[in-house]
Amino acid sequence: MEYYSKKIIDRFLHPKNLGKIKDADGIGDTTNLRCGDLMKIYIKVDKEKEIIKEAKFETFGCGHAIAISDMICDLVRGKTFSEAVEIGYEAIAKEIGPIPPVKIHCAKLAQTAVRAAIEDYKNKKTKK
């Protein structure tokens, strides 16, 4: 397996979902304490159906971390919360190709960020 596959490189160089959502409904901010990567996922929610309408990211990390952040934004778009929280390593690898073992934590980090964004939305909602 190539350390950086073509698909990963492509996503890394040309991310589609980069940036903030200004009036985001939820923000998931996570850090991997061991490798130092920081990921921030912004989501916009269809409040009636509780579906993720839009997702964007900002990531401080390696090429895999950036490519995976971008990919997970694609994957959670149009999904219900219960579907979105289940999207992890396997779903990401299915789309982006095999991920080297040492980089699997990047996918876990992305999953944590999505879950945190959903939690953030729920917390804000209950406060209202």
């Binding site: 490189i9 900002e58 401080f60 990390g61 390696c62 090429g63 950036i66 934590h105």
Partner: protein, 389 residues
Amino acid sequence: MSKTYLDYAATTPCDPKVVRAMSVYLKKDFGNPSSIHGFGQRASMALGGARQSLAEFLNCDTEEIVFTGSATEADNLAIFGTVRASKVPQPHIITSQIEHPAVLESFRELEKRGVKVTYLPVGADGVLQAVELKKALKPDTILVSIMYANNEIGTIQPIAEIGELIKKVSPKTLFHTDAVQAANFLDCDVKKLGVDLLTLSGHKIYGPKGVGALYVKRGTPIGPIMYGGGHERGLRSGTENVSGIVGLGQAIRELQNPKSKIHNIRTRQLRDKLIKTILKIIPGSRLNGSIFQRLPNNINISFDGAEGEAIVVALDQRGIAASTGSACSSGSLEPSHVLMSLGLPEEVAHGSLRLTLGRYTTAQDIEKVIRVLPGVIQKLRKISGYGQS
């Protein structure tokens, strides 16, 4: 893909003269140096020639050279070999926090086995203060191992000063230095340095991979870590890698060529230009390690808001081969132990880029980095949301 190679601290291409010298012993004179017939004797003579070259370079006797399969093996032999040969009941050994893993992991293993170990800190500039060592030396200190020049940040340690100090304060203590990165640029005269053991590598000096050497001063108590046919005066059994050793010998001879000095001056000029320009045109960048006590080919710079491996991958896509000493690439995920030892915050340690120049680096290579790097950093900062509110 990559056309501009700026990773000479990782490895170097073989000098054409090295390749020519080696090929004779892969094909025509392929004999086993232990054989009595002509094939064997020609191979044995070749080993002698290489040994002579190393002895001249190090200003030592030929019998004080032990060829090994790598510099890692030479480091292991120096450390495990002297500790096991020591008669001190509770031995104590000293190294620095910024050593290459070949030394650091050997010390950690011995620590697990009950040997007392001191890991000396370095200053914020990456240079060890001899006074720190003086404080750490004890009556039962049997070995000090301090690298000559660091592989990540290129800082040069005051080996001669340390050697002198050890002789004065604790004359029985053995002194080892890993000179793998230093050999290209610095004086490796073992008498001037005051070392008992010194490690060299083939592939960092335009020689082949898979060969290293250990200088072992005559009379140094040391035992083997590998057993077999008793090659290399019993210190390293295993049929000699004849062509590799010949290649190492040839590479060492090339280092002594006056041309090599001229190359090194040019390398320093190109390096200084690149450091100055990067620090000037990319805000939020800083040089890691001393600017003065530094190998002339090393650049290690951190960029706020851009992660090291991402920078390396992006540069590779633009035809520049560089490296990062930190995180993820090594599989450990931990930030570079060297940068952390300088007291840098973790995010800075994660954002470092190492560029190491060499004999074949051109002014065009440097121009290319100056052209490409700012855009790469800018893009990664956009991805990380750095500098935005």
